[in-house]
């Protein structure tokens, strides 16, 4: 078999086979199993004790036409012995299963990085589909990188020959061959992967054996091929992390578990009303399986029915939850107004994606902040929280439940497609360390006079929560403006003023019941503060860390509570000379901060459907500090 090795890379990159961290990207056809391969590789990193962060990046089409650039599915994992906060700016290693995968991904590769390509897929047809006239392996166009090109397809066919699979099925084992080679490169234990394959194909032992043979063959290839140079083993030490029990978890899983934990801490059953939508569906899938935890999941006929059913469940005394993405949240808008008007608890999860309209269903963006804070008819305030990483989702989901039931208000929880699908190691907490916040339903029948369903706690302004079925407290609620405590229809001018003020004050007052804004790095009163929210946490943190290491006076503030904002935030931001706000939108938090605090917040915007690179934020920090004024 032909083995081509071009080892003429530029020497711009650190070349060590004992790096702190390595970024590997697997890229192939959407049917090539790259997400699976990446996921299993990540697991092997976890088991090797590395810290890691992943970035699955796949097309909206389930099986786009084979070999096309728009059908390329990629999975990037950054793993290392140091603190890993992002999936990495630039891959060190790119595994390209076909020309289209090479074409769409190689530009991201670090100069000097390693490309492993399957020449078995580099026939004229696939080259043409990817838009190559000449094979890039042969025309020196990959000279900036090291290229290891060999016929993985043929090697796989050879390895699985004994199992008598058809050609198509046999080629499906390519991803395991590649995984085997990757495991060798990073000196990983194959045993857990073999066990996983045996379990996955328990009903079809031949397929299990074939895949294991491919995995072993890929591993053996690394060991015996003696290509030298580029193909060599790297050692990545375990990260020194807090001792404890860890698991890998995606944002979608973490958020679902947090909702269940929150409901339990509140002493409520959980009702999820949801409609399938990318990238929010993992929450529906996860909660649908947890019936023993008092979870009822309801796949509604549409987004509106999903939120309305959740409101109905909250009205009846459960914790109503609905989960969607931007377009679905838009459809829910009127019902959110109803939940605000009827002052019922409701948790609304928005796994944001690129917009507007259908936008980029599988790509990440954080452009629904305006929608979350302002996106309803009338003066309709609700609580807005955001999650900054897959593991953070757990605690934020609990917090969303707490605020919702303690203040009788809908809470919007903003996560995004990147967080939903990305995985991180999670130091699993002990639920005994969480303080419960049991809900007390109102049951007391007034000794005289009518029961007033809008009677309020004088401090928090929250109204009472009465479950239908409670004797003596029958009452009516609805979307029409109501009398201050009676809840009866009331169109009077002064009453509407009072009710609008009350709904607003109730939400703003929650600022007294949330933590003050902390500073992630640095201290108040410096030259520059970088303010973020959501999944930009990783790149901002790393960029600020790096800038501070260079001696720059820069701090990082990351906002979890987006509405109401923490009480001290205004003073904190004003203590800095400059405020820089990186966001994956056109400047939404920047506008909110300017509006709320009259601070001269400067935007740094990116809406490419891809997360920020650390370097992009570092460059902006440098530019902002250099800017006069």
């Amino acid at each position: 078999m032909a083995t081509a090795l071009k080892d003429n890379f530029e020497s711009t990159a650190p070349r060590t086979n004992h790096p702190d961290a390595v970024v590997v990207r697997f890229a192939g056809d959407s049917g090539d199993g790259m997400q699976l391969t990446g996921g299993q590789f990540t697991l092997s990193s976890a088991l090797a004790g590395n810290d890691f962060s992943t970035f699955p990046d796949f097309p909206a089409e389930i099986r786009a036409p084979q070999g096309t650039t728009f059908g390329v599915s990629a999975f990037q994992v950054n793993f290392g012995s140091s603190d890993i906060e992002t999936a990495g700016d630039q891959p060190d290693v790119l595994i390209a299963m076909n020309p289209a995968a090479l074409k769409t991904n190689v530009g991201d590769l670090r100069p000097g990085g390693l490309v492993i390509a399957d020449t078995g897929e580099f026939g004229a047809r696939n080259l043409a589909k990817a838009g190559y006239t000449v094979s890039p392996i042969d025309d020196n166009s990959l000279a900036r990188w090291q290229v290891l090109a060999f016929d993985i397809s043929a090697l796989t066919l050879e390895a699985v020959k004994p199992f008598g699979l058809g050609n198509k099925e046999a080629l499906r084992c390519k991803n395991m061959w590649t995984l085997g080679l990757s495991l060798w490169m990073f000196d990983r234990d194959r045993a857990p992967l073999i066990a996983w394959l045996q379990d996955k194909f328990a009903k079809n032992p031949v397929l299990a054996d074939a895949n294991i043979a491919a995995l072993n063959a890929g591993h053996a290839y690394g060991e015996t091929a003696e290509i030298g140079g580029a193909l060599r083993q790297w050692t990545v030490d375990p990260a020194s992390v807090e001792p404890g029990y860890y698991r890998t978890i995606t944002g979608g899983e973490s958020l679902s578990l947090g909702l269940v934990a929150g409901a339990k801490l509140a002493g409520l059953d959980l009702f999820l009303g949801s409609y399938p939508i990318t990238p929010a569906s993992p929450v529906l899938h996860a909660l649908a399986r947890l019936k023993e935890f008092g979870v009822t999941s309801f796949q509604a006929e549409d987004e509106i029915a999903a939120v309305c059913a959740a409101i109905g469940a909250s009205y009846a005394g459960q914790l109503g939850v609905t989960s969607s993405s931007g377009p679905g949240i838009a459809l829910k808008g009127e019902a959110l107004g109803l939940a605000i008007m009827t002052e019922l608890p409701l948790v609304v999860v928005n796994s944001q994606r690129g917009g507007p309209s259908t936008g980029l269903p599988t790509k990440t963006e954080q452009s629904d902040l305006y929608q979350a804070i302002y996106g309803r008819n009338g003066d309709a305030p609700m609580v807005v929280l955001s999650t900054s990483s897959p593991t953070d989702c757990f605690d934020v989901a609990i917090e969303a439940v707490r605020l919702s039931v303690q203040f009788m208000t809908p809470v919007m929880l903003l996560t995004d497609g990147y967080i939903a699908n990305a995985a991180q190691p999670w130091l699993v907490p002990d639920m005994a360390d969480y303080e419960a916040f049991p809900v007390k339903f109102h049951t007391e029948v007034p000794a005289e006079g009518k029961f007033n369903p809008y009677q309020r706690d004088p401090e928090t302004l929250k109204r009472v929560w009465v479950k239908p079925g409670t004797p003596g407290l029958t009452h009516r609620i609805g979307g029409i403006e109501k009398g201050f405590s009676t809840g009866n229809i009331n169109y009077e001018a002064a009453n509407h003023q009072k009710m609008t003020d009350t709904r607003q004050d109730k939400i703003l007052n929650i600022a007294n019941h949330i933590p003050d804004q902390d500073i992630d790095q640095g201290a108040a009163g410096g030259k520059l503060v970088v303010v973020g929210w959501g999944s930009t946490y990783g790149p901002i943190r790393k960029a600020v860390e790096s800038a501070r290491a260079k001696g720059l006076d820069v701090s990082h503030v990351h906002i979890r509570y987006l509405w109401p904002l923490p009480k001290n935030l205004g003073d904190l931001l004003k203590s800095f000379d400059k405020v820089l706000v990186p966001e994956m939108n056109t400047g939404q938090l920047k506008t909110v901060l300017r509006d709320q605090y009259l601070v001269d917040a400067k935007p740094l915007n990116k809406v490419s459907g891809q997360p920020f690179k650390i370097a992009e934020i570092e460059a902006a920090i440098d530019a902002e500090l250099a800017r006069k004024g």
Binding site: A261, G337, G478
Partner: protein, 347 residues
């Protein structure tokens, strides 16, 4: 300290236990008053309690209904009452849930929810007040308005084909379908009782006279003089006769079609006997063209199947059976490893 007055909670045994202190705000003479009265008369006979009863409505004249019922009530948003009611009933199946809606609310903006509520067979009663017009928005044509209806939004007459609510319900998979008239105070409580007794979604269309925007649109069969020849009240197991027993419905010999025949000397041979479980017959009755045929009224279809919330609850219980709800164990599932002090690792 004075003696505390004992708190008495109305037990729902009298119609006035079901009336609120709120001033009813429908137009004087509106058919809704009659329906409200019929419902308040029915509730004591059902034997349920006000606190276990929930009225859910959407938006429109009819949807003000819950404010006048001394029960739990939720006046929601336009078209969404079926969706809200689904959450209420799934969260607490013990509640007796009634949905009040209209032709615009239930069949236009909320048509999709109605379809799915009926096919899922949620155990609720749906009372759809059909007046063939949008009343609360001042008189536009509705999805049940007949072709040629002149209204502010259709000044030259509507051109779109109206929907037949009961035929829609049958197509959607409803297992209980009935028709009534707002003023039919004798029959309405009987229909409501049957709807309540039915396990699963009960769909009741009530012809309701909007005296302001569509007065007398149903007069061709609701006027006293027309009641005999133009109304046929069907009953399971009884012959399909009307007009004081002088007319009946039978199959046209050799065809799958109905015809009206005169009954002479009480000879009802050939007249069809109503079978409320016969979907084919029901379909024909629901779609009989009015004019040549009378309006078919009463409980027309009833063929129960297990209700949605009963099946959801059963599955929740069976899947959860034998499993321990251990949250700490749950969050520890999946691919895991332990980091010891010396930073060594194992699965």
């Amino acid at each position: 300290m004075n003696d505390m007055t004992a708190i008495t909670i109305p037990d729902g045994s009298k119609p006035d236990h079901w009336a609120t202190d709120q001033e009813v705000r429908w137009c004087p003479g509106c058919g809704d008053y009659a329906i409200l009265k019929a419902v308040q008369r029915t509730m004591p006979e059902i034997g349920t309690k006000p606190e276990n009863t929930v009225f859910v409505s959407g938006i429109g004249c009819s949807s003000r209904f819950p404010y006048y019922m001394e029960t739990y009530g939720f006046h929601t948003i336009h078209g969404r009452a079926p969706a809200i009611a689904t959450g209420v009933k799934l969260a607490n199946p013990a509640l007796d849930v009634w949905i009040i809606t209209g032709d615009g609310d239930g069949l236009s903006i909320g048509g999709n929810h109605m379809l799915h509520l009926l096919r899922r067979n949620l155990d609720v009663q749906v009372l759809l007040f059909n007046n063939e017009i949008y009343g609360l928005t001042k008189g536009q044509a509705s999805p049940t308005s007949r072709i040629g209806t002149r209204s502010p939004s259709t000044p030259f007459g509507s051109v779109d084909q109206p929907v037949n609510p009961c035929a829609f319900a049958l197509g959607a998979g409803a297992r209980f379908i009935a028709r009534g008239i707002d003023t039919a105070q004798k029959q309405l409580p009987e229909i409501f009782k049957a709807a309540h007794a039915h396990k699963g979604a009960s769909f009741v269309e009530i012809f309701q006279n909007c005296i302001v925007y569509n007065e007398d649109v149903f007069a061709a069969f609701t006027d006293k003089k027309n009641a005999g020849p133009k109304q046929i009240w069907v009953k399971h197991g009884e012959p399909l006769v009307f007009d004081n027993g002088t007319k009946g419905l039978r199959l046209v010999p050799g065809q799958l079609a109905l015809e009206v025949i005169d009954i002479v000397d009480g000879d009802i041979s050939g007249v069809l006997v109503h079978d409320q479980t016969n979907r084919g017959l029901v379909q024909m009755l629901l779609e009989l063209p009015f004019g040549d045929f009378p309006m078919v009224l009463g409980v027309i279809y009833q063929d129960p199947k297990p209700s949605f919330e009963a099946q959801v609850t059963a599955q929740n219980h069976s899947v959860a059976a034998g499993k321990k709800a251990d949250l700490n164990a749950l969050i520890r599932k999946g691919q895991s490893w332990t980091v010891h002090d010396a930073a060594t690792h194992k699965m």
